[in-house]
Symmetry: C2
Subunit: 276 residues, 2 copies
């Protein structure tokens, strides 16, 4: 069986940047998981003593708090700063941008609609910047009985599929006077999605490696599954079931934006040690 990596996969610019920031800030702590990959977070803890807390109130004056790639809520950031915590911002610049757009558009009198997962930290953060509130939706259905202003600003979670985003845009545009569509889906996501689409059409088994709660990994898995029924979302080599590879010719591999290369390599090594 041949193993082939997607043309684009894995760590994006924002994740690489955040890990560099964490490595440069030994003996600090992140507020919320820095990235959606528990293995990499464990490595940062072991090798760089970068801890993790889920409550921003534990930071005291002078403590160093690293803000996760997904960003945090505006009010929490303000609280940290008020408490004289030393904030090191590892928010991905592609996430800072929609935060800024949400604030600017809300204050300019637009209804702010965010396409994304209300429970995801990125979206909690972006929403918190909309001064007069924002509506978070995952499909056009949720807009049917809603009356918005005649001017709408539409923002997407950075890791969403552009086709799904277009469905929301296509619902709004004919129904309102102005829809200002911000393409906040990040290129890395788009490139990884394009690559997994192409590879999953050729492969007869697909592995998508990434955290189970990683939004972009889940999107990659969905795309893969649409084209290759034998697609599996795994966190690392321990999740492998070698029966998956029986009689297969081409195993395609992709990984979410928060999956480090060393985990991908472990998966490949594990397969090669058993199969072939």
């Amino acid at each position: 069986m041949k193993i082939q990596l997607a043309e684009n996969y894995g760590f994006c610019f924002g994740v690489k940047r955040a890990i560099k920031i964490a490595e440069d800030n030994k003996n600090s702590s992140t507020y919320g998981p820095l990235i959606h990959n528990s293995k990499e977070i464990a490595r940062l803890e072991d090798d760089f003593h970068v801890g993790l807390t889920d409550n921003h109130k534990v930071f005291k004056a002078g403590d160093k708090a690293i803000v996760r790639t997904h960003g945090i809520q505006k009010q929490e950031l303000e609280e940290l700063k008020k408490n004289e915590v030393n904030v090191v911002d590892a928010t991905c610049p592609y996430v800072t941008k929609p935060q800024e757009i949400a604030q600017e558009m809300s204050e300019a009198g637009y209804s702010v609609v965010i396409f994304g997962d209300e429970a995801h930290p990125e979206i909690k953060g972006v929403k918190s910047y909309a001064t007069y509130g924002a509506l978070v939706v995952t499909s056009p259905k949720e807009l049917v009985k809603i009356k918005l202003k005649e001017k709408i600003a539409l923002i997407a979670q950075t890791t969403r599929k552009v086709e799904d985003y277009m469905e929301v845009a296509n619902y709004l545009i004919p129904r309102y006077k102005e829809v200002r569509v911000f393409n906040t889906i990040c290129n890395a996501t788009f490139e990884n999605q394009e690559a997994v689409l192409n590879l999953s059409k050729e492969a007869d088994v697909m592995l998508i490696i990434g955290g189970k709660n990683s939004s972009n990994t889940k999107q990659l898995f969905r795309i893969s599954k649409d084209n290759c029924n034998d697609s599996y979302h795994i966190e690392d080599e321990k999740d492998l079931d070698f029966l998956w590879f029986k009689d297969k010719k081409l195993c395609g591999i992709s990984a979410g934006a928060s999956t480090p290369d060393w985990i991908i390599q472990n998966v490949i090594d594990a397969i090669e040690s058993k199969i072939i």
Copy 2:
């Protein structure tokens, strides 16, 4: 054979308003045809002495010039005013709006893209307001090799089909940072289109009445033809061929936004006098 009118058809708000303006300004002249209906223009000339000229330079100081519903180019309007012509503006307010948007967006640093017919007076007018120029397209194909700014303002000709407009929006949104989609398609157009869509699914012969150069009438005809193969675009009762109605059960009728009721009634009278 039963004759049925579409639920919405014919004269829109802007056309009614322009005709009222023309009737209120006897012994004046319009620059370009007031609306795209030669019969109604002849009636205004006969009954109200409202003439027609195709050259704005013939207007002299003190002359009264009625600006057509489709609007005119910014430079021409400025010239008329400079020459102290008494300008009576019958531009449809739904056309004035995209003119304003084109100017504002162009000056705010957006690439202005207009979905419409470059040769149509409305679009010539709207384009002329884009201070730094605008690109006029009729399909996404025309955008393929074009490099625009990262911020785009998209404007539609008021009489276009919203589905076609969405195709252009759908091409641009994933490719640029911000696409500000202005829904400048007028409601009357939309309602007439919806109504012709519904009726043409039921009727076995369809008549679309309107000027041969009327953009919105042509759109109605296209929609009708898609659903009812025996669809005919006629200007008035003289274009009728009674063979069209042989063995038909339901004749649906719609009319463009510049078609007066008296022409529609003449068509119905002519059919009823021959058929049934």
